[in-house]
Symmetry: C2
Subunit: 277 residues, 2 copies
């Protein structure tokens, strides 16, 4: 049996009771380490589970899946994923190959950034398509994520921006901060204003920066895009939300995390229950 177990977002104790029972039953435990990160190291997991945890780097996930499946065909194997097994990334390939090899799999879900961002108070069913903001280089400055944000803004829904995780083999991973993401967005807004395009968001659009969601030292900052470009939220992982139309209760929630209350003063009541920035 192959268990795909979500670990949630904070530390070792965020695994579900069911997930922990499965891990302790397994003869081999892999930890998918490429796409995400936990705030605790492998050692903390090993101590909590009482067994060895094998780090599965990207190469293993893609090329050495055979080993994992060979073991899962004769014993119980756990494949641990930070967040939910099908959260920000997907492990469809592993599942498809398991099914093809006649190996049973079992998914044990957990929180992922896609639902945990609900903690800032913006309603989860008011989000449009999620976008990924990638690291720009000197020569490569794509703006396609901005077009998706604009499309969401025009229909009034919020946008969750997952911030780029750059990593080349033999290089330490780097994680984009809310400051960096906000700066790239400000740059795009400048560009488009020069081209006299009609803008669906500006420097004054209310955004929310989130860092280490689900961990003890989680930070949330709500303010204008320009304000967030000056907010250091500390260690990764960071996420950024661009708001759409907001309900008064959503605004009240965001004010709990306001960089500066006055940035909310510009919001205009458009009808009895919705606001625009």
């Amino acid at each position: 049996m192959l268990y795909l177990v979500g670990l949630g977002l904070g530390d070792a104790q965020d695994i579900s009771v069911k997930g922990l029972q499965a891990v302790r039953r397994c003869s081999r435990v892999y930890l998918e380490a490429y796409t995400s990160m936990l705030t605790v190291g492998k050692e903390a997991l090993e101590e909590f589970y009482g067994c060895e945890v094998i780090i599965a780097e990207r190469e293993i996930v893609e090329q050495e899946t055979d080993d994992i499946l060979r073991e899962a065909a004769v014993a119980d194997v756990a494949f641990l994923v930070v967040g939910d097994p099908f959260g920000a990334t997907t492990h469809s390939d592993l599942v498809l190959r398991a099914v093809k090899a006649g190996i049973q799999y079992h998914i044990i879900h957990n929180a992922s950034i896609l639902n945990a961002v609900g903690c800032c108070g913006l309603q989860l069913y008011n989000y449009g398509e999620t976008v990924s903001i990638v690291f720009w280089t000197e020569t490569w400055k794509p703006e396609s994520f901005y077009d998706k944000i604009e499309r969401n803004r025009r229909t009034g829904v919020h946008t969750l921006c997952l911030l780029g995780m750059g990593r080349k083999i033999y290089e330490p991973p780097r994680y984009m901060s809310v400051m960096q993401a906000a700066e790239q967005l400000l740059h795009i807004i400048d560009n488009r204003r020069k081209r006299e395009e009609e803008l669906a968001m500006t420097e004054d659009t209310i955004c929310v920066g989130l860092a280490r969601v689900g961990a003890k030292d989680q930070k949330i900052a709500a303010g204008t895009l320009r304000q967030l470009a000056g907010q250091d939220l500390g260690d990764p992982l960071h996420s950024l939300i661009i708001t759409g139309r907001m309900h008064p209760v959503e605004i009240d929630m965001l004010k709990l995390f306001a960089v500066d209350d006055s940035s909310f003063d510009k919001l205009i009541i458009v009808d009895g229950s919705s606001y625009f920035s």
Copy 2:
């Protein structure tokens, strides 16, 4: 301290280790019972936690919040929510009132339907706005959810449809099935075809029905909308996904749950990596 604890989607063991520790520390434990349902009853939770669980009906959540907050001001109180505390619905009001009263709160996240639907293989970051399909009556047949699905389809993203939970006080709750939701959609498609509107989805659009996601007897069925209108997926809760543009790996995943493999034959390759139905 007020703990808002997500229970996940399946049974008592889906609570996180951290959540269980918090519950066992609390002097009073409430279970929010209005918006969602677990596959196990309150008794199973009480046995597992080793303490009494008080059902908080909607009236309590909205009107008797004062009691909960009064207790949380002097002791540890847990408020349990099926799924994630900020999942399909939100408990912003409780949080806002706690903050106003100077009571600390702590959120313990868990899986919700919004990320657990990833188990069918459609990539979570390819979803547009979530929609709610409501029960029609003889005289009230709103179609606004269909317009949102069409908007998502035109931009190529998938749509998660949360299926209506109708409940009036003193009436037993009723839950919409995938069959009922599919029938309402077929009805709308018929109406619009008669009005000669250009359709962004048809009877042959690939959809996915999901029942009891995260539970042992979870069921997933992938097929055309017309096929799903004939699929009985059993007990609630049900959800329905209307696909957008699909990646070949997403199609391979859906085929694991196909009502009939041939329904996927009509898919057309538009470019190297995407398909339309």
